[in-house]
């Protein structure tokens, strides 16, 4: 009788990488639903294109690197990258935009660094940033939330061929995001009260519609927290960093600086806090380090939103803090049990 003699422990919890990834994908569903409600079929099409390209790129890279393809494909990490990038893109982004972004994310930001677990930068945010810098026009063509949507066929034909839909032209379909218009209008020396009074794209919390997107991501994020897929430190610190910085400036001059609530419910705040910054591979791993890391992203996002050249700064915040992770981890090692606290 041949007995197995593996090393202890001989029992294991039910956690697995695939399960974690599936939980993340499921928790994105409320956000996706609100996007579909507000912007029509576009986000779903983006998601489908991103998933397809992601699976192809992942398989191709694994094959090139002579790694087992099926086990790695099934871990779901490529799908999560695809989903996070797709949900960050404008609803009517041309297909090649999505494809270029996701291909860059997986080939350059992930596999050239050694694949899952070895990439220092968040692949989805690298993809997003590459697109934002290379194709700024396509990346800022958002639809006004709500209103009449294009049908699936027209959306698809626009996304794949660029054929303008019948009726009003694409220009009337596109609009700046609330963060973008706020920045433009502030540049025209108007006060926030004036800007928000005559523009229907601003809502009670953040931008009209956008606040619901953020609320939906918040809901999904809370589910992730409740199911212990992510720990509380990064989201709390990031939202706290963003809100506290916003509060300081808002208290100083509420006509030039938007309220903390506006910042929390605009742009990629909630998606970033619960889904992007919490990517374990590229985030800090110590409890205290995660607080520093999250707060850093929140503060950088605020600084870029307020004074930088881009309407939102979550992606840059994540990438900049990714760089700082080794240092943060080094200086935030926990006190080992039984070690005397430094006196």
């Amino acid at each position: 009788m041949a007995l197995h003699t593996p090393s202890s422990p001989h029992t294991h919890g039910d956690a697995s990488v695939s399960r974690l990834m599936v939980e993340v994908l499921l928790s994105l569903l409320p956000g996706l639903a609100v996007l579909l409600w507000l912007f029509g079929w576009g986000p779903l099409l983006n998601l489908a294109i991103a998933m397809a390209v992601a699976l192809c790129c992942e398989a191709a890279m694994l094959w090139l690197r002579a790694r087992p393809i099926l086990p790695s494909l099934s871990d779901g990490s490529a799908a999560v990258t695809a989903a996070l990038l797709a949900l960050s893109l404008p609803p009517l982004a041309p297909w090649w935009l999505t494809a270029v972004g996701i291909a860059f994310a997986l080939v350059f930001a992930k596999h050239l660094y050694g694949g899952l677990g070895y990439n220092p930068f968040n692949p989805a945010m690298i993809g997003y940033t590459v697109l934002l810098i290379s194709f700024p026009r396509e990346m800022t063509q958002w639809l006004p939330p709500g209103g009449d949507h294009l049908g699936l066929v027209h959306t698809a034909s626009f996304v794949f061929t660029g054929a303008p839909p019948p009726g009003p032209g694409i220009d009337s379909l596109s609009a700046a995001t609330p963060l973008d218009s706020l920045k433009t209008q502030l540049g025209l020396m108007r006060t926030i009260t004036e800007i928000m009074a005559d523009n229907p794209i601003f809502g009670a919390l953040g931008g009209a519609g956008w606040q619901w997107v953020n609320a939906a991501y918040l809901l999904g994020g809370l589910a992730l927290l409740a199911r212990r897929v992510i720990s509380w430190q990064i989201p709390v610190a990031m939202l706290g960093g963003l809100a506290m910085t916003a509060l300081c400036f808002y208290a100083y001059d509420p006509d030039t600086y938007a309220s903390p609530l506006f910042h929390l419910f605009s742009g990629a705040a909630m998606l970033g806090a619960f889904f992007i910054a919490t990517d374990p591979v590229t985030a800090s791993t110590t409890a205290r380090g995660r607080l520093v890391y999250g707060a850093g992203i929140g503060i950088i996002a605020y600084v870029i939103r307020t004074w930088g050249g881009y309407p939102d700064g979550v992606a840059f915040g994540v990438l900049l803090m990714n760089m700082a992770v080794p240092t943060i981890d080094y200086y935030t090692q926990p006190r080992v049990f039984g070690e005397q606290p430094p006196s």
């Binding site: 003699t5 593996p6 422990p9 029992t11 294991h12 677990g117 791993t285 080992v336 039984g338």
Partner: protein, 526 residues
């Protein structure tokens, strides 16, 4: 002494595991049949192997000394039943490596005759060192953990006063119930042992910690300690509360220093089974020759707790519990978290064997190919030593052993919590053992190299010293010879004169004598 819920502390991390203790805890302990052959490893515990004092072919009684302790950290080995010594040879022993080790093999005669016990009841008149010697001579080592010789733990040194004895009845690993059953059935013996150990330590207080999934044991211990100042405390069931440092933290709030001993915070921790063995050794004069062993797992049809003679092959225990051989995937010694898989079922039960776990293929963790670490940090969240397991893994894998030590590798207690929660199924503990072994090996090589270097340096020094010695002697000689012209010149002149006179008297025959004095004259002139 029953009391209202006392305030307890928490240790970092830990896990809530499915206890699975009902399998073996349901029935009272029963006797394991005597095996045909006892296999008694000369090294059963930490320290030096014992030295055999019997010869092959000799008949021995139960409790008879077979091998005496060699050195300080060493314990004697006793026969656990009567029979004839048939061999002293290498046999399979319970060790993760699966390597055989020297053992005394006794063919059991079935009479089960024992040496005359020497009971005594006056332990309070004995001084601690006398008690420690008795405990040492009975061959008692820790029966819950690594098996460190008990008499050494009872000797923390004169400068280290012991405030309290902590008795470990936590038994936190799944499946294992031998301490539970012992506390339910032999609480009085445990309490008697506690009195002896306290006397040996001079411990002012005593706390017994029992996890709250053993209400019967708790009740039995509370009844047995009624009227004494021993505190029996219920502690929450969190793996690994049964770890010495963790239990001390929970019960007293004290943190045993990193890489230090409980004695450094004025505490000594003993397992309940060890304490019961101390009672038998001191009050009954009996050596440690048997222990309770839990046999559990879906691979046995009749799980339970067996009173097993030390040296009984695991095979015998499995037969006694109706093991279904064909369904076994692996057989563990110890629990599912820290136990190790046996390579050979002929390996014997030793003093530290608290559990034999027969796992079926369905029950055992299937071997999953590990995926890359995604740095999720779950391992750090559950680590009871508050380490960063993923960093340790990273450095161990890269063979950066100095960095693993910077990350406190040697504070790892190998409890397995990190590997249990790892979503990538990485055998983390395996990497830590590997790193520790490599570091120990490196240290041994370094020690040897140091020794060789010291020898070489010593040789150089000796050569240098001898050279200097020679030079010194040389110079002394020269100095002596340089002085000679002044004093010895006169002497020589006188001698020469005498010699010439003699030569004259002796005639030509004495010419050689003058010739012989010639060279010395030359020397003085040079």
């Amino acid at each position: 002494m029953t009391e209202a819920a006392p305030s307890l502390w928490e240790f970092p991390g830990g896990l809530h595991l499915a206890a699975r203790k009902e399998q073996s805890a349901a029935s009272p302990a029963r006797d394991c049949p005597l095996p045909e052959e006892l296999v008694l490893p000369l090294q059963q515990h930490i320290g030096e192997p014992a030295e055999p004092v019997i010869k092959v072919g000799q008949r021995v009684l139960g409790g008879e000394l077979l091998a005496r302790a060699e050195g300080y950290v060493s314990l004697p080995v006793h026969a656990s039943t009567s029979g004839v010594v048939v061999a002293i040879e290498e046999r399979p022993v319970p060790h993760p490596s699966g390597l055989p080790a020297p053992c005394i093999v006794v063919a059991v005669d079935g009479e089960d005759a024992f040496v005359e016990p020497r009971p005594r009841s006056d332990f309070r008149q004995m001084d601690p060192s006398g008690l420690r010697n008795m405990i040492r001579d009975a061959g008692i080592s820790g029966m819950g953990g690594a098996g460190f010789p008990t008499f050494i733990k009872l000797n923390p040194g004169a400068r280290q006063p012991v405030d309290a004895l902590v008795v470990n009845g936590a038994e936190c690993e799944p499946y294992i119930t031998c301490d539970d059953v012992l506390m339910r059935e032999q609480a009085a013996e445990i309490v008697a042992g506690i009195h002896i150990v306290r006397h040996a330590l001079g411990a002012k207080a005593c706390i017994v910690g029992i996890e709250d999934n053993k209400p019967e044991a708790l009740e039995a211990m509370r009844r047995a300690t009624a009227g004494t100042d021993i505190r029996v405390v219920q502690v929450p069931t969190i793996y690994p509360t049964g770890g010495e440092k963790q239990l001390i933290r929970v019960l007293t709030g004290k943190e045993v220093p990193s890489q230090g001993l409980p004695a450094h915070v004025g505490l000594v921790c003993q397992n309940v089974a060890t304490v019961a063995a101390v009672h038998r050794a001191v009050l009954h004069g009996e050596a440690l020759t048997s222990r309770l062993v839990t046999v559990a797992g879906d691979g046995v049809d009749a799980p339970g707790n067996l009173r097993v003679r030390l040296g009984t092959p695991v095979e015998t225990l499995l037969q006694a519990c109706d093991a279904r051989r064909e369904s076994l995937d692996r057989v563990l010694m110890g629990g599912p978290m820290m136990g190790f898989a046996l390579h050979d079922l002929a390996a014997p039960v030793v003093k530290t064997s608290n559990c034999i776990l027969a796992l079926t293929t369905e029950e055992a963790e299937p071997e999953v190919a590990p995926r890359p670490c995604i740095r999720c940090g779950e391992c750090a969240r559950v680590c009871p030593a508050r380490l960063l397991p993923q960093q340790l893994y990273w450095h161990a894998r890269a063979k950066e052993f100095d960095k693993t030590q910077d990350h406190h590798l040697f504070d790892c207690i190998e409890c397995g919590c990190c590997a249990y929660v790892c979503p990538s199924h990485i055998p983390l503990v395996h990497y830590y053992r590997y790193a520790k072994t490599e570091i120990w090996a490196e240290e041994r090589i370094k020690e040897r190299a140091d020794l060789a270097r010291r020898r070489y340096e010593f040789r150089l020094q000796r050569i240098e010293r001898e050279k200097l010695e020679r030079q010194r002697k040389h110079q002394e000689k020269r100095a002596v010879l340089k002085k000679q012209p002044a004093e010895e010149g006169k002497k020589l002149a006188i001698q020469e004169a005498i010699a010439r006179a003699r030569a004259k008297r002796a005639g030509r025959g004495a010419a050689d004598g003058t010739a012989a004095s010639q060279p010395s004259t030359d020397k003085t002139e040079s």
